[in-house]
Each structure stands twice: as C-alpha cells, then as structure tokens.
Amino acid sequence: MEQASPDPERQLQPGLLEPLGRSDAGLGVAVDEEVEGAREEGSGGDTMTHNNFWLKKIEISVSEAEKRTGRNAMNMQETYTAYLIETRSVEHTDGQSVLTDSLWRRYSEFELLRNYLLVYYPHIVVPPLPEKRAEFVWHKLSADNMDPDFVERRRIGLENFLLRIASHPILCRDKIFYLFLTQEGNWKESVNETGFQLKADSRLKALNATFRVKNPDKRFTDLKHYSDELQSVISHLLRVRARVADRLYGVYKVHGNYGRVFSEWSAIEKEMGDGLQSAGHHMDVYASSIDDILEDEEHYADQLKEYLFYAEALRAVCRKHELMQYDLEIAAQDLASKKQQCEELATGTVRTFSLKGMTTKLFGQETPEQREARIKVLEEQINEGEQQLKSKNLEGREFVKNAWADIERFKEQKNRDLKEALISYAVMQISMCKKGIQVWTNAKECFSKM
C-alpha cells in the first residue's frame, strides 16, 4: 500500500508556527495524481470516487457555526448548531481558489460519517471527532455546548477532522466522504444505503473475541496496551492541566486587588501618590492578561484531546484484528473437529463422544450406506471449510499488513503533531513569562518614582 499523500501543504502566515487546524484559511491538500485505481478494502465498487475531482488541489474549511432550531426525529423542537463546510478547488497555474461547494452540516452528521468510515475501513486508524461535550474544563470555562467559545473550538476541531480525512491516502478517496462535502440533501440516505450498520461488528462479538482469542499478533497486543496507557496518561494530564489553569487564574486575578488599594492609598499620600497610582494600573493589566493566556492554552489542550481520542481509534483496529483472528481460530477448530469426525467414521473408531455415537449404541448401528452418506457430507464440509480457512487466513494477513502500514503512518503523524504541540506550548509559556517581566518591570519603575 503506497503512502501516497505528502504532508498537507500549509498556508502559513509568515513567521508563525500554525498548528494543524488553526488556520482560518483552511489547509490545502494535494493528492498524488499518479495514484489511480487504488483499491479501498471493504468499500464496494460503487463508492469509487470521481477521479477528476481529486486531481485538483482542494481546500476544505469549516468556516462558520450557526445556531438553528428544527424538529428532531420525535418531532420535538430542538436547538442545535450547524456548521458551514466550504470546499474550494485551487487551480495549479495561478493559485486562485474557487468555491466549488458549500453546505451546512450538524455534529450528528459528522458522527454518522465517522461511524461509516469505521465499518468500511477497519484497518485504518480513523481520525476522531472533537468531543461531544466539554470535558476537562477548568472552572471559568463553560461546560455548556451552546457557549460561543466551545462552539468555536468545536468548529476548529471539525475542520481538523475533515482535513485529516482529506489528507489520508485511502480515506480521501471514499465516495461517501466526497458526498459529505458536496451533497447537502439526501446524504444521510446515501450513507444508509451502503448498509454499513448491518456490516458493523457487534460489540458483544468483539468483546467475546478479545477474551477468547488465543494467538493474536503480538504487535497488536502491545499496541492495545500502549493505547490504554496513552489514554490514561493523557486523561491525567488534561485533568491536572485544568486544575493548574484554575490556580493560575486565581493568582493573576487577586493581583487586581492591588490596583484598587494602591489607588485608594495614593489619595492620602503626597509624594508617593503618583508612583502608587500608576503601579496600580499595571497590576490591573497583569490581572487581566491571564484571560488571553488561558484561552490560548485551551488550544494546546485540544491538541492533546485529539490524541486522547485517537487512542480509542487505535484500540478499534486492534479489536478488529482480534475478532478476525478469533474467527480464524474458531474456523480452524471447527475444521479440525470435522476432520476428526470424518476419520472416526471412516475407521470406525469412536474416540470422541458424540450424540450420534451414543444413539447408535443404544438404538443399533447405522447402515454402511448411511455412514457413506455422512462421510460424503463431512468431506464436502471439510473442503468448503478448507477453502474458507484459506481465504480467512489471506484476509487476516492482508488486514495485518494494511493495518500495520497505517499504524506506521499514524505513528509518524503523532510524533510530528505532538512535538509541534509541545513546541507551541513552550512558546506560549515563553510569551507569558515575557509579559510578566514586562508588567513587573513597569510596576518597578513606578515604585522607583515613589
């Protein structure tokens, strides 16, 4: 499987490090023109994309969010937020972009798209959606889904989700994804027509397989442990970070009280008055600076959250492998027992207990013709079983190969993204320190004039 797509070309503002998904202009995606006719596993022939569309560079952006009221499935009034998705194609020659599609989608439609992708691309680490409800909030941040800051961060998260899919070499070719961007009405019907809900593995089956599988590929077992631990450590990190933000907020805001008391004090002083008064002003500046600082930090938290949710996507791939492996083991087991039955019938020895054997003992032997018939049936079943086992084996190996290729791709992406996130976090801290130094230096100067 080729790793066709290069890194998304970013349209950076000069001199700024723009973390993924931050840019308001959206990111451009170039799809390798040479890759054609690449097969997507699991998606039938009619979900092949319209080739011409993907030969041009496209830009996707979730540019607006709007509160709407409508009627839900139970015909009750509800309020929800709709997001405007704009797709632009960029001409190679002059770099100008032309708006080709523009439609509104709500969060539940994004969910539907993702669920579809999970079923049809079980070997892919499917990008996660931004959180449905605000979690890991520190007290000043609203946990309300309608809060404009939450909506704004979600808008960015949804844009990021679409860009991740568009830059994935396999997912970007999916027709349902294409339709999501281009076909406003009837899209839901199109998704449901694929019948993906039926193809989905039952949760129960998956759980059963996880417990009972005997020989999963060790790499997947390790990967499962990794994703569990990653999830745990990032959750912990986000929780503590929220508390740290809370405390930092408190420290800054209390300094604002100095502003007021210095002002009051300066009223009774002669020579000291001016210095005190102006220093008080700087304390007010200090106290109010924390709001912007913490707002910026939320973006860092969002980047971490994405990878928290990615851990679940990793686990989903592992689960699929376990399911397939378990399926294989059961089929092999089944085949082995049939072969044994056949052998016993043929040689007349009964080594294993069977009901048929018991009844035969109790009610008399079966005729040779009957036995021949049974052997024939079994032989047919064994033949079929061997074919199935072969194809299951092949399937399993293909899955492992493809999944592992995507996991490697994911690993590279993760290391890149998280490194960048850490850098931007450090940059934020540096900026906060510099602001602090500036304010206190100003205050010190005011004090020196007292």
Partner: protein, 404 residues
C-alpha cells in the same frame, strides 16, 4: 585595633554558657553589612549598630535565641569605640518600654510581634529567626537614626552593658525631664479642639493602617493562591515523565517538558518563600508602627487637654493675677515641646516610610521579575531540544516492534 568586650565576659541568665563564641566583626565587614541610608539630617554618622549571628541557647528551664549586637561609635557617650553584646527578644522588649516611658513625646519604632499567632510556625526555624533578626536590626537602626532617641541612656546601656539584667533589676530610673513630666499627666480631660495638623495626622494614620491591612490581606491571599498553584504544578510535571516512558521519539521532548515544569515549580517556591519572609513582616511592622503612633497622639491630646483645662480654671478663678501661674506655664511648656517633638518625628517618619515602601515594593517587583526570568530561561532552553530531529533514538516499546 578594636577590642571586643562582649563574648568573653558575657554572663547568661541561668548560668548557661553561650552555645558558641564568635569573634567580633572586623571593621570593614561591619561597614559592609551596614545599610548606609540617605542621611536625612545631613550629619555624618557617628553611630553604627548591627544585629546578627543568632544563636540558640538550650538551658534547663528554657530554650531561646540570642542575637549579637555590634556597636561602633565615636560619640563621647560611649566609653569604647566598639562594643559587642548578646541580647534576646526580652531585652529588646525591655528597651522599647523604657524608651516609651522616658521619651513619651517621640515615636518609638515597633518591634516584631512577640508571640507567634499562627501556631504552625516553628520559632526556632531558620526562616523565622532570620525574619526576626532583620526586624530587630531595623528597630535598632531606626533608633540610631533618631537625633533624640539615639542619645537615650537606656539605649546606651542596651548596647554596652555586659549584663543587662543587673540594670533591669536595679530599675535605674533614667527618665528624662520630659518623661518625668508627661508621666504625671492626668487623663480624663476633654480636648476642646485638636489642632488641624494633628487631626490630619490622626486621619492619615487611620486610613494608612486600613490600607496596609488590606494590602497585607491581599499579599497573604496571593501567597496562598501561589502555593496552591505550586501544589498542582508539582503533580503536573511528573505526568509528562510518565508519558515519556511510553514513547520512543517523543520520550526526550516529554522528559524535557517535565524537567522544565520542575524548574518553574522551584522558582515559584522561592518566590513564595521570599514574599513570606521579606514582604509580609515589613507590612506588619508598619501596621504596628501606626498603632503605636496613634497612642502617642492620644497622649499629646491629653497634655493639651490638661493645659486647656488648667488655663480655663485660672480664667474662671477671676484672680487678678496678670501672670499665669507656674504650673499652667509648665503645662503650656509641656504641650509645646510635645507638639514640636511630634511634628519633627512625623516628618522624619514620613520620609522613612516613603523610602521603606519604595524599597519594599521595588523588592516585590524584583522578586516577581526574577521568578519570570527563571521560568523564561527554562522554557527557552528546551525549545532546541523539542525541535531537534530524533535520529536513532530509542524505540518505543509498543509501536516500533521488538528491539534489535
């Protein structure tokens, strides 16, 4: 060179011996340790006092701390050019009450609080002792700076006596003329009208104490919030370490962030310690100062009241004495001296206050600047670490397959 009196001949209460003797400060280092403030009176200094070298004394009945007081002076009131004695808090307290008694028309600087109200503080901890030492040093320096108080006999004895207890016991009355006279001022007279300037001083002190109280509360609250922030930081940093152990290429960057947060935590701890030890005590001192000043103002009011009452009594007696009786004259004298002393002290106090607060607040700003500079350095230093290409680094246990 200067001879030292103090340690060799020092007799401690309860017959204890000093925990350790130390040689007196040499002249140069003594001068180095002195803060040569701006000379307000324009006189060249001829008296230098330093409080240092706290030592713990463990005796059968009690444990306590003594401080070394080193005095250098060319004044005639001192027999020797240099003295070194050891004093404990009790002795400072004695000095202060003697000064209040003998110089009631002057503002006596405050002492640090006698008892530790917040129970958790260990009064033998290094930080507490150092904070107290600084306050006691400030106390003596303020007296040294005062043109009248510095010549007070009790002060002299405090600086020079080998055994202070002898003087304490003998209760030598070294009251000044003023002290003597004000001592006998009877209260209970109602003041007719307070002169504007003293009323203004009273109002000022009221508001001043109020504002200082507010600032004290704010500062305490900030320290409390900073400590709680520190607690969270100390949990936050190590989580990056835990994460680093799971990763391959990200291991070093994550570990770097963890260490960085650790450095910031340490810097924050230093900030809160500094504020607690250097900032808060000085604030409290000034609150105590304004309290004691208020009581001096009250005394002044009483002196004026007495004078006015006596004057009125004379007027009412209708004796055709053109001359004012001697005792009324004495009252007037007393009042006018008091007013003059107080005015002069207030001016001196205002100037000192301005300098003290200027220094205090600049110090607070400085400490915050230093804190941010330490954090800045930490974060700037890991940027290259985060940016570098991780070549042939250790492989993640999970994603890179078995190690070769």
């Amino acid at each position: 060179m200067a001879r030292s009196f103090g340690d060799k001949d020092l007799i401690l209460p309860n017959g204890g011996t000093p925990a350790g003797t130390s040689s007196p400060a040499s002249s140069s280092s003594l001068l180095n340790r002195l803060q040569l403030d701006d000379d307000i009176d324009g006189e060249t200094r001829d008296l230098f006092v330093v409080v240092d070298d706290p030592k713990k004394h463990v005796c059968t009945m009690e444990t306590y701390i003594t401080y070394r007081i080193t005095t250098k002076s060319t004044r005639v009131e001192f027999d020797l050019p240099e003295y070194s004695v050891r004093r404990r808090y009790q002795d400072f307290d004695w000095l202060r009450s003697k000064l209040e008694e003998s110089q009631p028309t002057h503002l006596i600087p405050p002492l640090p609080e006698k008892f530790v109200v917040k129970g958790v503080v260990d009064r033998f901890s290094e930080e507490f002792v150092e904070t107290r030492r600084k306050a006691l040093d400030k106390f003596l320096k303020r007296i040294t700076d005062h043109p009248v108080l510095s010549f007070n006999e009790h002060f002299n004895i405090f600086l020079t006596a080998k055994d202070l207890n002898i003087y304490k016991k003998q209760g030598i009355a070294l009251l000044t003329r003023m002290g003597e006279s004000v001592k006998h001022v009877t209260g209970g007279y109602k003041l007719r009208m307070r002169p504007l300037e003293f009323a203004a001083i009273g109002d000022y002190l009221d508001t001043f104490a109020l504002k200082l109280g507010t600032i004290d509360r704010i500062a305490q609250r900030i320290i409390k919030e900073e400590i709680e922030y520190l607690v969270e930081l100390r949990e936050y940093g190590p989580v990056y370490s835990t994460w680093s152990a799971l990763e391959g290429e990200l291991a070093e960057p994550l570990e770097g962030v963890s260490a960085c947060i650790g450095n910031c935590s340490t810097a924050l701890e230093e900030l809160t310690d500094d504020m607690t030890e250097d900032f808060l005590p000085v604030l409290r001192e000034y609150i105590l100062y304004s309290d004691s000043m208020k009581s001096v103002l009250k005394k002044r009011d009483q002196v004026q009241a007495e004078y006015e009452a006596k004057l009125e009594a004379v007027a009412l007696r209708k004796e055709d004495r053109p001359k004012v009786p001697a005792d009324v004259e004495k009252c007037q004298d007393r009042m006018e001296c008091f007013n003059a002393d107080l005015k002069a002290d207030m001016e001196r106090w205002q100037n000192n206050k301005r300098q003290d607060f200027r220094q205090l607040l600049m110090g607070m700003a400085d400490k915050n600047i230093q804190y941010y500079e330490k954090c800045l350095m930490a974060w700037e230093s890991i940027i290259p670490l985060l940016q570098e290409k991780q070549e042939a680094k250790k492989e993640s246990r999970f994603l890179d397959g078995p190690r070769k």
